[in-house]
């Protein structure tokens, strides 16, 4: 097969890789992208997007189920609903399919050449791709490694049979009666909550003393409360030990040292993700690492000249939007522009119930910088719009420096707060002070008023509380 020579080769077409390729194409860089699966990577195929579809379906189902219970305060009543998960999954697959086609189309529009197959480094300038029609050799001046990450597997609970990762959980044929979730991070809780809403008896096993351990307790409390209301059993400080001999239950050592058997049609293991550093010839080029990740500098350059790495393979936070921003930056660097990583915040969202958003520093992180801080917190229970949506749980919290009121961090927990992340990160990225947020008119009636009120609160003169 004829060798391909190009200016830029991108390995992996997840959100980091495809954004990098599109931007490079826009800038007139001769670009090739290699992907073994479908375009869009984990995010689009088995991550962010499909999980949001399932979560939405579960929310819809729960809503009508509660109405069918005859206790709906709004006054709607209907007969008992049913969910056909096969159809739900098909609907979700339809969305994924549209987005796959969309990404492929965008790449084409940007004049990026797509090669389907598994890539492997031969040396720092050359990659071999196993395609359906044979080995394709690609030589490139610059190569971007965007291979992403994979679910971490527990040695005593290997993925197979009824031990599943998030990928399989998003493609179940029917709603399981029982589900054990090992790992109380955001992936496990998002999916666990969705299945609980669809009627599954869910048990979450978390080794640390509380769920969502990366967030502070104040933020996670409404989530824990909601899980309880949904009938989800949360075992904190508990360790999964393995499957029972007949495979129908998960063995757990609880916080007080007792052995417990948790009946489970499926055991969903969500104990984190690890960088995908195997199978593509990392050994051939021997790049420096930071722990399990590929080490990069502020321009996403690896230890080898001309080789860049972006996204989950380079470290935490493993978030699609971080990878996208890195991909865009690398494309511009390859095109000859001066760029370096200068972001002030990478917002993070948990699509739990209620949702959790965090941008910038938490109060503890802010204190750890040695700065005197001010905190303003406004509860949605005092927000009119939240009341009309029956979403009064949660709050918005603003963390600012005490001396010049520079906003250091903004967090929120509440229904739909994921959409507030835009305002939060914009405020931090623009270097807003409390007065800037307090002085911005926030439309009434919206939940976003909670943001303005939190800033006012930090300034000592909140109006609606």
């Amino acid at each position: 097969m004829k060798e391909i020579s190009c200016k830029l080769l991108v390995i992996g077409s997840g959100p980091g890789g495809y954004v990098c390729a599109i931007r490079a194409g826009q800038l007139g860089v001769d670009t090739v992208i290699v992907e073994a699966g479908k375009p869009g990577g984990t995010c689009l195929n088995v991550g962010c997007i499909p999980s949001k579809a399932i979560i939405h379906a579960a929310d819809e189902y729960l809503r009508v189920t509660e109405m069918a219970g005859g206790k709906d305060p709004i006054g709607i009543s209907l007969s008992k609903p049913a969910i056909d998960l096969k159809k739900t999954v098909a609907w979700k697959d339809g969305i994924v399919g549209r987005l796959n086609t969309g990404v492929a189309g965008l790449l084409k529009k940007a004049k990026v050449k797509s090669v389907q197959g598994w890539a492997r480094f031969r040396d720092g300038k050359t990659v071999e791709v196993e395609t359906e029609t044979g080995t394709q050799v690609i030589r490139a001046e610059a190569i971007v490694i965007a291979t992403g990450s994979k679910p971490v597997e527990l040695p005593f609970l290997p993925f197979s049979g009824n031990v599943i990762s998030s990928t399989e959980a998003l493609a179940l044929k029917k709603v399981p009666d029982t589900l054990a979730v090992v790992g109380g991070g955001y992936i496990g809780l998002e999916l666990g909550t969705a299945f609980a809403k669809m009627g599954t008896k869910v048990t979450v096993v978390e080794a640390l003393p509380r769920i969502l351990p990366l967030y502070d307790q104040e933020l996670t409390k409404p989530v824990a409360k909601r899980l309880e209301a949904l009938g989800v059993t949360v075992l904190t400080g508990a360790r999964a030990k393995g499957l029972s001999s007949d495979g129908s239950a998960l063995l757990v050592e609880t916080a007080d040292g007792a052995e417990e058997k948790i009946a489970a049609d499926h055991v969903l293991v969500t104990v984190g993700r690890k960088p995908a550093t195997e199978g593509w010839g990392l050994d051939e080029i021997d790049l420096d690492r930071t722990g399990p990740f590929i080490r990069i500098d502020d321009q996403c350059r690896t230890s080898m000249r001309g080789i860049y790495a972006i996204g989950d393979v380079t470290g935490e936070p493993m978030l699609a939007h971080r990878a996208m921003a890195q991909g865009e930056m690398v494309a511009e660097i390859v095109a000859g522009n001066k760029r370096s990583w200068d972001k002030r915040c990478i917002p993070a969202v948990c699509f739990t119930d209620p949702e959790v958003v965090s941008a910038g520093l938490s109060p503890d992180e802010a204190r750890a910088t040695g700065a005197e801080i001010k905190i303003g917190q406004f509860p949605f229970s005092a927000n009119g719009r939240a009341m009309t949506l029956q979403n009064e749980a949660g709050f918005v919290r603003v963390v600012a420096r005490a001396d010049n009121h520079l906003v250091l961090g903004i967090q929120a927990v509440g229904a739909g707060v994921s959409e507030l992340s835009a305002a939060f990160s914009l405020a931090i990225e623009m270097g807003a002070r409390l007065e800037d947020i307090a002085g911005t008119i926030h439309a009434h009636p919206t939940q976003s008023e909670g943001f303005q009120e939190a800033a006012l609160k930090a300034l000592g003169h909140a109006l609606h509380i």
Binding site: K338, D342, D403, H405, M430, G431
Partner: protein, 438 residues
């Protein structure tokens, strides 16, 4: 809402107009009572105009550099009080005070007496920062405060991108925005100023900065142009052997009474000039060329050109003929100090009849001094240095110094100029002659 008009105050001494050299406020600013609104400059002194009321500046009546007649309106201030629906009486009650004073423009505003005299001539440009304070909101401005070591510069993504592309390290850029945020204007400013040259080689600089010639600088410019266009200068340079004078000076300084000022060369020169002028009074004169009259002065009032932070000023050593060497030295020192401090009075800065200009250690070999119009002579002191001098059989080291002096050739012939300088040379080279008969 009452409006208060502030007029150009009578700054005294029969001055009919003054030049506006600085605005401390702009339209829209809130000012407190006694806040400085503007600075105006008369012939010699800068005077600050304070606000007699509290309110909002609604109108400014002159541009910087404009000359404004005493009594014309220069600022209008809206005084508050009845912006709300408070009874009109309140507003009326205030208004008479404000307006009653305004139309006449007599007692108004608090005449700038000592305070403004003290703030006199040296500062047409300084002092703008504190005056801006009222226009800012109170909260923790920390404007332009230096960024603590290691703290990340604060800037919006667009500013960061621009800096990156321009090769600017944002850590080097002072931020003037809220919380020290770096704005686009800060980048503009930084680019105009030019950062510390980075190792990127030579670059053409196409920037042009406009500097308005106002205040003292404008006075100097006008005066120099007048002198050079009206007076046909003749410049005469002679070298003086000051070895003996320097020995005498060292001795006098070594044995001086502690309360006496240290002697420089200038008091000797002043005394020598007094002597020479006694023989040639036409050199100590004011030439009114329009009237065609030369005013020969009996008193020798020696202007001593002095460099100050804001420019050239010429304080005057009055009646040098009536002062001995020590007295001259003390007075020259005092004048130098008040000039540098900017506290010299109008009297101290006017009335000279002949001038000395000296650049001290920077003096150079020769200068072509410009006569201090309407005088007729100026004596310039060049740098003193050890030079080899042929004494007829060998070179010997002597302390030599040039005098570069200019004369108004309309009224001073070259011959007379030469005689004058030769006389000073004789006196300085044999310094005892300066004192004989004293």
């Amino acid at each position: 809402m009452a409006e208060h008009t502030i007029k150009m105050p009578d700054v005294g001494e029969g001055v009919a107009e003054a030049e506006l050299v600085e605005w401390h406020v702009k339209v829209g600013d809130l000012v407190r009572e006694d806040a400085v609104l503007a600075a105006v400059m008369t012939d010699k002194a800068t005077v600050e105009i304070p606000s007699p009321v509290e309110g909002k500046v609604s109108w400014l009546g002159a541009e910087i550099g404009e000359t404004v007649a005493v009594g014309s309106a220069i600022v209008r201030i809206e005084t508050a009080g009845d912006a709300t629906s408070a009874p009109m009486d309140d507003g009326e009650g205030e208004a008479p005070i404000a307006e009653g004073m305004a139309p006449e423009g007599e007692k108004l505003p608090p005449p700038p007496t000592q305070k403004s005299e003290a703030a006199a001539p040296s500062k047409p440009v300084a002092k703008s920062e504190p005056a801006k304070a009222p226009s800012r909101t109170a909260t923790n401005g920390s404007t332009g405060a230096p960024r603590p070591e290691g703290e990340k510069p604060l800037a919006s993504p667009a500013v960061r991108l621009r800096a990156k592309e321009a090769g600017i390290d944002l850590r080097q850029v002072p931020g003037t925005g809220p919380a020290g945020r770096i704005t686009h204007e800060d980048i503009d400013h930084f680019l105009r100023q030019g950062s510390q040259p980075v190792a990127t080689g030579l670059r053409p600089d196409t920037s042009v900065e406009e500097v308005k010639v106002v205040g003292l600088r404008r006075r100097i410019a006008e005066k120099m142009a007048l002198a050079k266009s009206r007076i046909p200068h003749i410049t005469y340079v002679e070298e003086i052997d000051v070895t003996a004078l320097e020995e005498l000076r060292a001795k006098l300084n070594a044995e001086k009474r502690p309360d006496r000022a240290k002697l420089t060369l200038l008091p000797f020169l002043v005394r020598a000039m007094v002597r020479a002028i006694a023989e040639q009074p036409q050199l100590n004169a004011i030439y009114d060329d329009e009237a065609g009259i030369i005013h020969r002065h009996g008193g020798v009032h020696v202007g001593i050109a002095a460099q100050t932070p804001s420019g050239l000023v010429v304080p005057v050593l009055r009646h040098a003929e009536a002062r001995d060497l020590w007295d001259c030295a003390a007075e020259i020192n005092r004048l130098a100090e008040v000039s540098k401090a900017g506290t010299a009075t109008r009297e101290e800065l006017s009335g000279s009849t002949i001038t000395i200009t000296s650049l001290g250690a920077m003096g150079g070999v020769v200068t072509t001094p410009v006569i201090n119009h309407p005088e007729v002579a100026i004596v310039g002191v060049n740098k003193m240095m050890m030079r080899p001098v042929w004494d007829g059989s060998q070179f010997i080291p002597r302390k030599m110094m040039n005098l570069s002096s200019s004369f108004d050739h309309r009224v001073i012939d070259g011959w007379d100029a030469a005689v004058f300088i030769q006389r000073i040379k004789t006196l300085l080279e044999t310094p005892a002659l300066i004192f004989v008969g004293d």
